[in-house]
Symmetry: C2
């Protein structure tokens, strides 16, 4: 299986390599007849341009780096799927890196991306400045990071202020007067904004959130929620409503409540954040603030494309709206499943 190069195609089509290149990239001039001959030759030989050579010549690869803290978090995997789809359609491949929330790993990722001469980077929950780390002024889109805008630096994130407010209002609406907060800030700094907005809104509504009603479990997944519920019950905290800053926290929390005979929503109402697939199919179905990784990914990809093409000089900031999805976990008067 000898590799077929542009030279072979040129010979086969009876033209020069320059012409072949021009046809492939649709720039420069060539006659319709020549184009046909070249395309036929490409087809016949099964030619595939060597991206390495192309990248070397153009001083950048048709490749973008995507850096996320935890790919097995549904938010990020869904984000990646849309980003990949959109960029693929634009002829770009993506290179995904997982940092495990580690700064060290993040640095290594940026180094690797720099070595690959990627033409752009999308970084979610970045702990560090990408361009500084890469020593290269490649376009960057930050997701869920409060970075300053700059030329070639954009930011996309959910409207966490609105999110926190929606959660607080829904909890109060469901009759909650003694709230509890399960925080995710330890792993996701951005959620600090949610927390603040949630607390502020509660205060506005005249509901008090005591300091010891703020739990910060060691993880933000089911196990974390489970642990938080255990702790709340063990410490004998008096609460009738919970805001978990992540659906997985909320689901773990609810399940542990169930184990201990505390009923949701009868005894405690619960609001999550994200709207993961399971939120709808859990028991009870979870009321949550939906953020759309698809929409965020779409915007990130679109923005990056613009920057890569030089169509966007200044960098932009996008705040993606969130929406409350009301389900059983906050429906006090609603249907409570069996039991």
């Amino acid at each position: 299986m000898a590799r077929v190069t542009v030279k072979d195609v040129a010979r086969e089509a009876g033209v020069s390599v320059a012409t072949v290149s021009r046809v492939i990239n649709q720039n420069g001039r060539f006659s319709a007849d020549t184009e046909r001959r070249v395309r036929q030759a490409i087809e016949r030989l099964g030619y595939q341009p060597n991206q390495l050579a192309r990248g070397l010549r153009q001083q950048r690869a048709d490749l973008v780096g995507v850096v996320v803290p935890n790919i097995s978090n549904e938010f990020f995997s869904r984000l990646i799927m849309t980003v990949q789809q959109r960029l693929f359609d634009a002829g770009l491949s993506i290179m995904i890196f997982n940092t495990n929330h580690s700064l060290d790993m993040e640095r290594q990722c940026y180094a690797s991306l720099a070595a690959q001469r990627v033409c752009g980077v999308i970084s979610a929950n970045a702990l560090e400045d990408v361009r500084a780390a890469m020593r290269h002024d490649v376009p960057v889109v930050y997701i869920d990071r409060p970075a300053e805008l700059a030329p070639h630096v954009s930011v996309v994130m959910s409207d966490n202020v609105a999110g926190g407010r929606l959660a607080a209002r829904e909890l109060v609406r469901s009759g909650c007067t003694r709230p509890l907060l399960v925080s995710a800030t330890a792993h996701f700094p951005i959620t600090e904004v949610r927390t603040k907005s949630f607390a502020d809104t509660l205060a506005e509504l005249g509901v008090f959130l005591p300091d010891d009603h703020v739990l910060t479990p060691p993880a933000t997944d089911f196990a974390g929620g489970h642990a938080a519920a255990e702790e709340a019950l063990a410490r004998g905290l008096d609460f009738d409503g919970v805001f978990c800053e992540t659906d997985r926290l909320a689901i773990g929390f609810m399940n542990e409540l169930g184990e201990k005979g505390v009923r949701v929503p009868a005894d405690v109402t619960v609001v999550g954040f994200d709207d993961v697939l399971l939120a709808r199919f859990g028991r009870p179905p979870l009321t949550t603030v939906r953020q759309s990784p698809e929409r965020i990914g779409e915007l990130a990809a679109y923005t990056l494309l613009q920057m890569v093409r030089g169509e966007l000089a200044e960098g932009r900031r996008e705040l993606v709206p969130v929406e409350l999805v009301r389900r059983e976990s906050t429906m006090r008067g609603g249907v409570v499943a069996d039991s």
Copy 2:
């Protein structure tokens, strides 16, 4: 930020480019003193070798392609995390593609990987022959695909025969005499093996699985399980135990049963497959056949590395053991949460 090349390093260190290259790649000969000078120069200039140029020269990139059907499936995301970690440690970057179970998309992925001149491919649940599609005899590790071995072609998968048997035995042990099967074969051809082994074992144990007790929902996630349970109840099927070929199917199934007042495990016992994170924290905690994407990923990465380095001529087949994790969903005599 002008790119610094090997030439700059050579000048800075007072040696030739060849020497710099030799030091970086640790081949050829050079004195300890020279090495020190070169390393210092690299450090001072912040030099990072251009992977594109390197790849072009060596006729292959230090890059491996990873192709999966659905990255937001926990099995695959965990698989990817270990693969990435292992290969990264070996100096390789990975390029992930998501096919959405689409043959068309899969073909495009292989084409893209061929264009990138990757040095290896790991493909999970492949629908097609990778090397044929790539027109290039790059080393390949298939995951969960019953491919024929060949030079540079290896296969890693869970022991689905044992898995199906474990599930059947556990269901029968839990007292099930009227089993139900929720299949995933429509999306994951490999699970046909599970199905067969499950059915065979039931037969051996003298338990009959009627044809109309095999459900094949349109999806293999929570929604699919939900739908399957709805269908089973609507059709008035008489069953007291269920094997769902995926944990997500099982969880969706259980939750819908709960909605309808059917108790697990009192009325129906349930066995899943995978052992996703949630299995342990669900209500009730799910008995399941654990397969380890980490172990599979590790093996796949290791095998690919060997093939890439030419240390493994013939291709090998690895069958990764599975294990039964018994939890509440099959514990008839056990503690049943409230209700």
